[in-house]
Symmetry: C2
Subunit: 81 residues, 2 copies
Amino acid sequence: MARVVVDVMLKPEILDPQGQAVANALPRLGVSGVESVRIGKRIEIDFAGDADLDRAREIADKLLANPVIEDFTVRVSDGDA
Amino acid sequence: MARVVVDVMLKPEILDPQGQAVANALPRLGVSGVESVRIGKRIEIDFAGDADLDRAREIADKLLANPVIEDFTVRVSDGDA
């Protein structure tokens, strides 16, 4: 079994209100020094056989990411990331 | 500026209907060989100075993850993951 990880994040020019809400809450919790927080998706795809990056890219493009507002990266999982 | 990445995933024993929906859609798209899909969150925290893993862990624990149903990992971003 092989695992491919797809990370989907909003494009840098797209506002991320969810991340901003977290960033704005931090000072109230006594946490300073954080410049920005951005929240996206992490998808783990387990293949029965070998990891198939091309197939994973196809899945990400068709089902997981909205290419108008999101960028995604595809990589074979190295176990701990 | 230093970036810390927090990955939040549902615990393995918790059902993930969103991931299952994607997995079930794959055969209809002509994609076979995928055993399972699980969908979680990826949060990028940018620190003004050095990356502070302990602080990031505190933020994840308080704001980003629900420890009853989710596990999270915290790591300094190595640039491309």
